[in-house]
Amino acid sequence: MKLEYVLYGFGILFCIAGIGYLAAEYVKYLSELGKIGSLLLTIGLFSFLGKYFEGLGW
């Protein structure tokens, strides 16, 4: 069970690092529509992730 959480932790870190890298590199090229889309998806991503961990009993 503890190993699972460690893997989840790595997964989340990689996700955040990946999005951070893409955001730093390409957010300046995004259109206004792309920026608002990315913002909504980021909010959705962390909301669903929160709900997922809530379901796990965190």
Partner: protein
Amino acid sequence: MAVKHKNLFLYLTLACFVGLILIFIFDGYMGIYDSLFITTGEQEDQIKPDQWPQRDRYWPTSVERDQKAFFRYEVENRWFSSYSADIEVSVWREQEKVSDLLAQPISVASFDKGQLEWVLDATEFVPADIPPEQDYEFTMLIKRADIERRIIIHVRSVLYPSKVVIPEPPR
């Protein structure tokens, strides 16, 4: 049921992540991007693709009156098909075209770069009646399909005129 519900949020999280990646790839990376390299004297400046929207109307650069400015216009095609367009470069002053500098088609293969180069001799565009100590400005317009890039060329005055050689008096 609880397990399915738990996984549903995980799948939705993954869907948002995939959506973000797709937006960054198709809206952020893919497309046609242009850069301009300006060399005056020993200095090279670059106007990067993301810098064009920072100034909606024009970009300034300066050159000394007796200098030449070297331009390199680079078009990067980050798309699956090749890209072709006509590039027109002209000099304008007070909304009137002064001269055409370049009119040439460009064709760039998929995920490749194409470039055009030209030279602008500042002395050619400064009227003879402008005194050497007075600055002068004109606009260089780069037109690619329906996209226009405006560069304001500021021609700096010659502050120190060339040294006058006084002939040695006869002995």
